[in-house]
Amino acid sequence: MVVDIDEGNLKAGLLALVVSLVEVIKDALKLQAFKRMEGGSLTEEEIDRLGQALADLDVALEQLKADQGIAEAVQQVRDGLDDVVDDVLDKFLNPQSWVEEAERSDRVRVR
């Protein structure tokens, strides 16, 4: 396989990686923000401000992705990361199911 790398796609790929990490952090922050809003310690005005800041961040990121034409690449990186996380967690949390699944697929193959 020939990997075709030029200045353009290297920049775009690197940018997509960075943006997808920023997006992950943004999403995690958003969930924490919801928890704080539900926690009841924030005033009405603070909730407003927090919501506005989150919305602005969303717009800025979307704009950046559209500008650079990397929306698809970012989605791919995020899907890839999610797959890895899912895989690792699954192996950690229920090793038994993996054994069963492996056996099952073996049986199917034999049949």
Partner: protein, 378 residues
């Protein structure tokens, strides 16, 4: 219940856990790291690390009674110190449109897009960044002379429209706006209610050499194409080939660097000597390819600039044809296009033609004849 014969459907997992879920769970529960580390060399401890860290979402932290006073203090500070979330408006000023945008800022070595929100009011155009609060741009609407929209291709191949505004002061600015058509039409409406027209003008988006994103309104482009230019040595960098665009206008030849968004070669038409296409070994993987060598005069004497790209032969013709259509200025002796000398005067000194200017109402052919006679007179 008896299952119908056929394939057996097994329950499968459909909920995928994502990285965000993992982070959320970790922050929700909280992570405590306790580590004692001793780095030793030859059995002698040299560096000790005693690490106690707890990472958790603020809500969890507060539930465990940690960082409560920090939380209070930070929110308190924000409440009392930061009240400016919107640009300060004058009395009787109202916001017409608010959208996301960015301004190209270039000053010295600082060159970047500065993002914020564009506020169009009935008096001004403002670019305001809320956090940290700063007004990045503020121009009264009456100082805007004209605009042009130019589609530029980014390195990703994605195209976007940039808005260039020409100001009455002669400065010009470059904006990138979320919905620029909406912004421009709203601007035109506001300005026409003030009795000022907002006109679209033909313009070339060239930064003046001081680095400000600028455009020369009224300068007609005669030829343009993507072109590589061998930029002369600068700092620790030797001569480097850089991507950009070459433009020939009615008064100059210039090369605009794509990455720096800056003009790096500017030759007034009078100083253009001519051009040759020759094969040159560029080394490395590129090998030998045709190069346009451009001769011009500057304050150091005769210089040569090297350019390469497609359509070099056409460029050679364009430049030569242009050099032929020039005339020496009677004032300073510099070369300039004949028509420009007669109609607007010399671009390098203050000389203007003493011949009567053609009447603006005169028909096209009459103007042409007058200009021709003028040339013969000189």
């Amino acid at each position: 219940m008896v299952l119908p014969p056929g394939p057996v459907y097994l329950p499968t997992k459909f909920k995928q856990s994502t990285l965000v879920d993992l982070l959320d769970r970790a922050l929700d529960k909280g992570v405590v790291i306790a580590a004692d580390l001793v780095v030793s060399l030859g059995g002698i401890p040299l560096v000790g690390v005693n690490l106690r860290a707890a990472v958790a979402g603020m809500e969890t932290m507060l539930r465990y009674g940690l960082m409560r006073d920090w939380d209070e203090r930070i929110r308190d500070w924000e409440r009392t110190h930061v009240e400016k979330r919107e640009p300060a408006l004058l009395e009787s000023e109202r916001t017409v449109l608010r959208l996301y945008g960015a301004l190209w800022a270039a000053r010295g070595i600082y060159r970047a897009w500065r993002p914020g929100h564009i506020y169009l009011t009935n008096r001004r155009l403002i670019l305001f960044r809320a956090q940290p609060a700063e007004t990045l741009l503020e121009i009264p609407l009456f100082s805007i002379k004209g605009y042009t929209v130019r589609r530029e291709t980014r390195f990703t191949g994605h195209e976007r429209d940039l808005v260039y505004l020409a100001l009455r002061s002669g400065r010009s600015i470059c904006l990138c706006a979320e919905k620029h058509e909406e912004l421009l039409s709203a601007m035109a409406t506001e300005m026409s209610s003030m009795g000022i027209p907002l006109v679209e003008e033909a313009a070339s988006p060239f930064a003046a050499l001081d680095g400000e994103a600028a455009l020369m309104i009224g300068e007609a482009i005669k030829a343009e194409s993507k072109m590589w230019y061998q930029a002369p040595q600068r700092g620790i960098l030797g001569d480097t080939w850089r991507p950009g665009s070459l433009y020939l206008t009615d008064s100059r030849l210039l090369w605009w660097c794509d990455t720096d968004r800056q003009v790096q070669l500017e030759v007034p038409v009078g100083r253009l000597g001519g051009a040759d296409v020759e094969a040159m070994d560029l080394g490395g993987l590129i090998g030998e390819r045709p190069v346009l060598s451009l001769r011009y005069r500057n304050s150091h004497g005769l210089e040569t600039a090297l350019l390469t790209g497609d359509g070099l032969a056409e460029w050679k013709h364009a430049i030569e044809a242009f050099a032929e259509g020039t005339e020496a200025c009677p004032g300073c002796g510099g070369l300039a296009p004949r028509e420009r000398l007669l109609e607007q005067g010399c671009p390098s000194c203050d000389w203007t033609s003493p011949l009567p200017k053609p009447e603006p109402v005169a028909a096209g052919p009459a103007e042409g004849r007058l200009a021709g006679e003028g040339v013969q007179a000189w």
